[in-house]
Amino acid sequence: MAAAIPQIDSVVQKRYMELVANFFKSAFDARNVGKKVVWMAYFLPSELCYTLDAVPFYPEIYGGVCARMGIVLKYIEAAESFGYPRELCSATKSAAGLALSGEAPPPDAVLSTQPVCDGGMKVHEFVAVRYKCPHFFIDMPYSTDARAVEYLKGELEEALKFLAESFGAELSEERLKEVMELSKRAEELHLEVNELRRKKPSPLLSIELFGQYFFPCSFLGGTQAAVDFYAFVAEEARRRLREGDVPEEKYRILWSPLVPQSFLSILQWLELEYKAKIVMEMVGYAPKIEMDAAEPLESLARKTLEARFPSLGNGPGVFNLDRYRKVVKDYDIDAVIYFAHWGCRTICSAVKMVKDMLREEFDIPMLVLDGDIFDPRNNPVEQARARVEEFFEMLE
């Protein structure tokens, strides 16, 4: 059921689409302007690339754009034909398919890691083999304590050296600090936007950014573009609050964890028809973290370890649940919609522990929708709609 991008009348959405288009255009244009392209695993910090004036390309994120446009299936099928199991995550398969199709900007280097998932880890290894390009694996610890931050800091340092060496470029401490200053600024503004979304009623809709409020600070972290974008969104939110130009809000929803890019119509019904406003997406939730441009690598390690990865729900479970507790309280959530992306082992298997905790500690209902973030073949639209209707009848 390929659907066109659900567009609504929103300056924020318009600006966001431009930002995303320019972001990927820079990767496609990189060769022409003499820049290097680095394929990055989902959520690895873009700052590493910008420090060396290289362009990051996130195949899974690009796959998401393709899913939004209804053209992702050919990449998924290319991966399946090659021998990747049908059961593998569709986002991961889209990355493999992009590499196999040769339709993506070819990498000059690959940076991979284990989270988000093992499947992704294996596919990025394959990408490096396929393109015969240098590959560095950033080892992300499972724990998030000070020892883990220190370990990751060492990994990021190695990754930077690796990129500099691969590109024959000079690594400049000065440049790193500049990038981290911008990164810190974007992170702060991202938090400011999140703060504004806490307001009742919340001034922004999730669909305006296709549920990806984390996009600029994650993939454009370290650029002026990200800073400007969040500043723009924050300003627009403040204007709406000031002028009382806020979308109607009947329920406050936490969407968790990932927003299905092949199935955005569901967000549209929720927010526009049911006036059930998604005031936070679990994947984009970030706590305030210590960032100090004087300690650039440690800051980057913190940002990566504490802000980016855990909210995805990779575990440990105890840690994930604490995140939910905080969001549910901070955002005054009425209900949680949990999108159990079939391809994701960790997301699906967290359903029971999250649902039980929300019911026992907060008496908050959680609707579980089975589906697929990218693969339109696995999203029975009518069924999902019926489940949502039932759920809201129950909430009445």
């Binding site: 021998g83 059961e87 995550c89 880890m121 290894e125 394959f126 610890p141 499972y142 370990y151």
Partner: protein, 370 residues
């Protein structure tokens, strides 16, 4: 017969744990071979590998999800049903996405007195060794508390020596399978390795000495129309190996964490024992989860060449992303190196099922080798 004791253990592994507990001692379960058993052993407790059994998954699907591999769902089913109530502790590591969630479910929904998941690096570097040594040091002090003893370096080294002895004997037994006509079948070899994951190590070492001696003298010999190696994800079912051997192949080697990978490498006994353990258990040979992945594939190919195999059966549990993802890498590797070793990819469930289809594939593969 010499395998009598082995089969007795496999038929009643809980009985082994119970008789140990009757002596007033504790049992600690481990999931995945990244948990250094030596530490549990040195604390005077019995390390016990957590495995599945043929059960119908009911609760396992409610607490996990049907897109988790059946090994993990079966294990959780057993744990929720009380089959692992005798454990005083459970230790695992963040080996894969599935195990991580199994641990979470165990943490929230199964009452075991002590539970721990180790943060296990994905690569081998001096930083990683130091990091993992810290993790093991935490495990050591937790185990000391649980057992109420202190683990001295001397005791730990002693445990390491016992474990190394068992490893050496297993390697010798595997060595006998290099011969044209092997004195031990693949299914039997798996049984022998598996028994060691439940038995007290001293008893196991004595048993292995006996088995090795009698294998050298054994008249019964096995042969097949092709020499096969099994590689891939968690496989502890001798019945699966037998399916291959009944189809005409002789399984002479494996690259499994329930087989050769479990004992292929020793722990260094000189120097700091915790660091030695960290180094040994961070091995890329133990599982395809590690980096660089080439190290694991090299080991696999070397094994295939050493044991002169005609073909490799590469099996992955359905939904296993690590081995499902390693297969394309292995294929590219063989192509790149110009190696002409036929590989059959099979996906399977933890509890043997779909036997007819499996049999057809396996038999057709063996027909194509001979």
């Amino acid at each position: 017969m010499m395998l009598e004791r082995v089969r007795e253990v496999l038929d009643g592994r809980e009985a082994v744990a119970r008789s140990w507990k009757e002596q007033g001692k504790k049992v600690v379960g481990w999931i995945c071979p990244y948990v250094p058993e030596e530490l549990i052993h040195a604390a005077g407790m019995l390390p016990f590998r957590v495995m599945g059994a043929p059960v119908t998954i009911v609760k396992g699907d409610a607490y996990l999800y049907p897109n988790i591999c059946t090994f993990n769902r079966v294990v959780l089913e057993l744990a929720l049903g009380g089959r692992y109530d005798f454990l005083d502790g459970i230790v695992t590591a963040n080996v894969c996405d599935h195990i991580r969630r199994l641990y979470d479910a165990w943490h929230f929904f199964v009452e075991t007195p002590f539970k721990l998941i180790l943060s296990l690096p994905h690569k081998v570097s001096e930083n990683a060794v130091a990091f993992f040594r810290d993790e093991l040091s935490r495990l050591k002090s937790d185990l000391e508390k649980l057992a109420g003893v202190e683990i001295s370096d001397a005791a730990l080294k002693n445990s390491i020596r016992t474990y190394n002895r068992a490893r050496e004997l297993l390697r010798r037994i595997y060595g006998l399978r290099r011969e044209e006509e092997a004195p031990i079948s693949g299914a039997e070899a798996l049984e022998v390795v598996k028994a060691g994951m439940f038995l007290p190590k001293e008893e196991y070492v004595a048993l292995l000495e006996e088995i090795f001696e009698s294998l050298k003298r054994r008249d019964e010999r096995y042969e097949g129309s092709a020499r096969v190696m099994i590689a891939g994800s968690d496989l502890d079912d001798p019945g699966f190996v037998k399916l291959i051997e009944d189809s005409g192949g002789l399984v002479v080697a494996d690259d499994l964490c329930t087989g050769s990978r479990y004992f292929w490498e020793d722990v260094d006994v000189s120097g700091d024992p915790l660091e030695a353990l960290a180094r040994r258990y961070l091995s890329p040979v133990l599982c395809a989860r590690m980096h660089p992945y080439e190290a694991h594939i090299e080991h696999l190919i070397k094994m295939a060449e050493d044991f002169n195999v005609d073909g490799i059966i590469f099996e992955a549990l359905k939904f296993c992303d690590i081995y499902g993802g390693e297969y394309p890498l292995l294929r590219e590797w063989l192509k790149e190196k110009g190696l002409d070793i036929p590989v059959l990819m099979l996906d399977r469930e933890y509890v043997l099922s779909g036997v007819e289809q499996l049999k057809t594939r396996i038999q057709a593969f063996i027909e194509s080798l001979s």
